[in-house]
Symmetry: D4
Subunit: 252 residues, 8 copies
């Protein structure tokens, strides 16, 4: 495509339809466009069927709503993550059509044209109830990016039969996201049970020497089940994007 | 399959072909088999077309060769990782058919029945020449697990045009493994360029405040490109297994 | 017991009292039950004479009270740990029969059938007055799990005669829990004085380079008195459960 | 100059115009002045055309305004950094002539005699919008110290074309300050693009394993682009002073 | 006993058989003996049926053998831990009666009078083969202190059926020691399966971000199975002493 | 003294003025008293001329005032450290005779009999104005323990002439306490200038990579001036006690 | 220049001297060249008067000499850093014209056309004799990049008069590199003495709690002298490149 | 003294015995001498009765012996610390009069004029036998600086009676140096027993989570005995210099 655009420009020059100086300016002004990447402007790529993402963290309610309004005004959808409860309330009243997820601290307004669906189900497994906010963030994000989401909840390894009982769901999933704090043992157990991609999200759940999720992070990085990958602490959003890269890779 | 086996057993009991006590013993002795997991015995699963993996680290040459001989004797293949140069020399003379990769510290003996091929190419990108041993480990592992591997070498971000020149290879890959030490900046750049799954392998390359790869690890975990996942420092093996989970997930 | 249940099921099949399919379903639906563990469903185990534990941390007062009501409704007791003062006030008015421990941030409602008593006394030793909340949590938990608790308070090593004066209590105890922050020196001294099990609970007491209890944690892990074990920082609850495992092990 | 002063003193002694004791006292009383440094009293140096700097952090509004009034009273200018919004409001009403920068948490009152202008432009590059407060602090400081400031905003490496589009500004700058949190990858990319001095300011932006800016700090220290230097986390002020040392060094 | 000794001394004074000054000296010289601790001289306590322990780490072969000879000369037994292979060879030839454990880096010479036997079996569970040296150290120590030891080997959680298969052994044990490196997930799983005391020994097995066992240590400290206690990294000796405190506590 | 007490007791027994059993009881009940330490009961030692110390941190205003009242009631003095402003206000109104130091967060009520004076002056040197609260705590404590205190303020090494100007005070001091945050460079400079004892107090002043005083702590521990000792971060109280141990050691 | 090249190409197309397809190929094959950066291919930039840099760390002697020979063969110069003594010996005999610096672990072969000289002197200040290897690396690098280098050696702050004696050299320098381990206090003192750019190189000199240079690194990052910048631990090479960016910036 | 020297110089000028230029040169050449510090040139100060100190760490045997020879040649004594066994052997044969301390890795050649004796005894207390090398370094240093040294060995807190037995020695000492690794509990116990200055030297003794002495360092910094000061890990030399500052302070 880009190749075509440059080809056209060179043809215009060759045929005298474009001045040399104008052609030079055009190439210089937008050098990136001359690179052979389809995805080079990832903002654009994301806009095609994907909502724009607004990280609510460190933004005032006014800022969050303002950005959301600008996006909605041009007809696009948005996904707000890490929104304060204030921001969620404001978004709810401004955008009645938006889905508000208080537990996951997210708000989602679907774009006119929905995201293309990925292949297979993303299963989100949680160790304990305090991992739920992170799991919700992952679930909302995954759905917004065009995925079917299943959940397996409260299956921490201290009661190992709980995760074993989820065998069917584990076997069915195309990708498994494992959300676990404290000792971060669940990703290793799940990684040994399934042969599909497993993404671990360590959470900051725990106290004392959990060091805000470092214990769970290190456990996940050192998983004795080969081929488990890891995202940042509490980063449910990132895990969902990673999972969605997988489900969409197999169809493109 | 397991369901079938239990069904058969129950039928035998019902038809009087099996004593109740014998049936009970059989169920009790191997309780795991009664769980509805196809993959529950992952050793077996790996053996079907996959080589067995021997971690050379902390084993003597005698131990490594001994285990390898036992595996080869029963007709299976093996993959030795983190082998000392001594162990590699011994493996080379004992198994003339094995592939020895000195840079990647690996030895590979293909099993009789090769692993099923994954879908698409795994591209392994390295930032600098000192990341090559880890990249080699990933490449050998990925191939042993049934994957086509491509390489993009020495494209660190200090000369950003180098990675941009690799556009075609990046666009072509089904999964991208990015191996980078020092500042660990390459995964973020690659993660922004491609929409496919990106797995970062931080390496212990660097000195002073690189802290044996911690700097690169933290950079990868905090990647500003959403959806980049991470494995342990220098864990080329793990990255390849993770990538292979993806390429094989889409065909099973 | 489980063996009996499976035996009965097989007998029903053998005698034609149960269809093969129904037997299969029953085994498949609850695979865990077929494992030869008495304790496999630890929730159940805990319910038999033990209160259910609700970790108050990160839960709203409504959530805490709600869960507690559900438990009490089915006739069980509960132990709430890390409860906010708001939650404690609410629990106090909702459950007049509950014991409220403000210092230990706990609320305890005894179950109808009390927990079986462990053998011997659990002695809880504290270094300073600021270790008391953690010690209280341990004491309340230990009692709820069926233990006799003694206390030795404010016997930090800077006045070594204080712990020496507690000789009699130390000698009498079946298990000693040592709660200490700052330099974490007390577990080593106690571990040298008694031959019974000693469990150290490092506390986050201290400022500057105590790093939220890390100094005390490391001291406990490196105790020069052999055989001292350690639980997480401020984890009075965990120490009491560990101690109760010991006192109940000797009677079962 | 100092040599001259001591020479004169010794001459006075030699000619009997100064008592030995008086000479001794004079040398003893002000030992510093006898050192051959032009810059030994850096307070004085800073006062000549530079504003005095008041670090607002940990000071009450009363203290900040009080110090500012004392400085203004003697006709000097001031730069308040890390001011609370309260302090900024108070400064605004007390010093109508002062420039208040809410985002950068700074207030600046120009001195009567402006600082001598440095040579060339200081370009401040930011990776994301949350790096802006630190960038503002740098910009206000740089201008107060007599520099022309340019900005390149929101050019994080996840969309590599963004920083490449800033080529012209990057080429034009005498010094480049790169403000980046999360993975801290931007300084390496910029350091590879320009041959002028590059100063990295890691920011505490990010969550989870960014550890309050440590990830970005380590990335900057391990930059694969040679010759990138680093200042403390969030230290926009320090980066601007360092840049100003460079722009003023070339003219003195 | 001590009470008796002081009583006797006072009687001697009362009856004029001992001078006041001599009595004073005797009390002053050995003040500790007047404390009501049976265990105050733990060296003596250990000598009664227990071997003396020599930490081989940082001692030359000559020093280790020398100390061992001095102990054996007075008829006592010894346990050497962390012995170099040189030291083990020397001990083997000097003490033909000693048990040499090369894998566990231990040498043990039984004392004339064996240690009193503890109640119940100590089960030592290992996650992987590289955890074996630490497990051996624990086993040798536990046996030397008068315990029956059982082993459950290579039951890491990546193949969860392996530990489940050990159900019988787990149920039988009085105390369980769980030795695990890498992600340190095994103690949590075991802690959920059994109700007896569980002691976790994190090992330094792993590479990259295992940080010499810190990952496994933190996982163990944050175990989601309540009441798991922890000893120092690789401290098989300490775990065995802790376990032996438990098995002997229940019989004294 | 203690020796005298035991001597007296033995004499009573020898002379038949005390029953053997009563003597035994007396020795057994208070075993510590029989140890030949003058300082064994340090509470007592402190009471002789020293105020009792109340650490205000983590205590409510009611608790602080309550303890203070109990001490004052028996005629002793007290020193409250780390008091909240609330507590200081309450102490001020309850004890009009007490000295309230808001900056140092201390309140001091002199005991009836003042502490014996130490030999020489304690000089407290501070690097910057934000180190003053810690310096004040040290000053108040030192004076309460019977010391003459001098101050050298705001002499950070960035203006090296400032500390050099303090030569006279430095030379005069018996002990120097150096309070410094940020880079912690001042203790090294002072340690090189004086031959008397130098005690460094790192402070938590600084932001970003000062890590709450860790940077200054490490600098002090690694001082290139031999013989500088260090106390905990922000521990002005501890530094003053250490200095007072020195000034009083030389007179006892 | 690049603009000129593209202009020429477009002219060739316009005048029919170049086929459209050939022009397209030329632009596509080397897209980077079309970006308006003078320095985009920094390899080339470095080759113009600069030696190529070979990091010796982790390379065999054969590899180092091989790369050096390839560079020398095409007439360029080279700078080998972090060379082993073996590599230095081999380089010395292969390249008699090369300068070998054993202390700085460097070898330098001047290119035919020397690097353009920077403006002003780079002064390299060291705290102690053990900082010399890092200082030598900086000195050799700075000279190779076209700079005049001065040295001020062994002026650690424990003898503050030593650095003060260097006043003249400090005042004369265009840029000051301060190499210091242990407490890292020297950069702060130097940063307060001079107004020119100061670059701190923390070294791994020190033991115990210097943590391989972390103490000095943190001290430098927290320098109380504003505007001091920092490079990685022991990174003399990086400091020299940074200094050379400054000296060459002022002349371009 | 310095004052006297300047006075004399001024007198010479006044009386015409010294040319003005010569006087100026003399003051300028050594400007530091004009500061009113007795100790400003600490090299000189140390030479007066003190040995010069050579840190053996990181120096070759040739370098160590060479420096020692240069010092001895001008009639001074020396103290070599952290000497390799090679260096000790070489020093022993070169300086037959030197005291060689293999355990403490020190060599000491007494200067002609011995150091002035400090007041009182320095007591060096060690927790375990592996702390002895550090204790020896402290002992040799303390003696070389003119102190009487006593020792209390192997009195770790796991057998608390051992340190209590040392009551007399503890009471007698002017300063106590406590050398302890592992849990670092001994300084707190000693600090509570004596009222004299206590200096803690954490040692790197221990394994696993002792982190090379960090556990003991943190314990010492957080000592619950007020007024304990700390030096760097394994820094026996520094502790002895600190102690000697105290014993010599009281006599000057």
């Amino acid at each position: 495509m880009i190749r075509d655009r440059v080809l056209a420009l060179l043809r215009q020059v060759a045929h005298g339809h474009l001045e040399i100086d104008a052609a030079l300016d055009q190439l210089a002004r937008d050098p990136i466009e001359s690179l052979p990447f389809a995805t080079i402007d990832h903002h654009r790529a994301l806009r095609q069927g994907y909502p724009e993402v607004i990280l609510g963290l460190g933004k005032t309610t006014e800022q969050v709503v303002g950005i959301a309004e600008r996006i909605a005004a041009r007809g696009d959808g948005f996904l707000v993550t890490r929104a304060s409860s204030d921001a969620l309330t404001a978004l709810e009243s401004t955008f009645p059509a938006a889905d508000i997820n208080a537990l996951g601290r997210c708000a989602y307004l679907a774009p006119a044209e929905p995201a293309p669906m990925g292949r297979g189900t993303i299963l989100i497994v949680t160790a304990g109830t305090s991992d739920l906010p992170v799991a919700e963030e992952a679930a909302v994000t995954a759905r917004a990016l065009g995925n079917t989401v299943e959940r397996l909840t409260d299956v921490g390894v201290a009661g190992i039969h709980r995760v074993l009982s989820g065998a069917e769901a584990l076997t069915r999933a195309a990708v498994v996201i494992v959300v676990a704090g404290m000792d971060g043992a669940l990703p290793s157990v799940v990684g040994g049970l399934v042969s599909r991609p497993v993404i671990a999200v360590p959470t900051s759940v725990g106290y004392g020497a959990s060091f805000g999720g470092v214990a769970a992070l290190l456990a996940a990085l050192n998983s004795c089940a080969a081929g488990v990958t890891v995202v940042n602490i509490d980063n449910g959003f990132g895990a969902a994007v990673a999972a969605s890269r997988i489900t969409h890779a197999s169809i493109s």
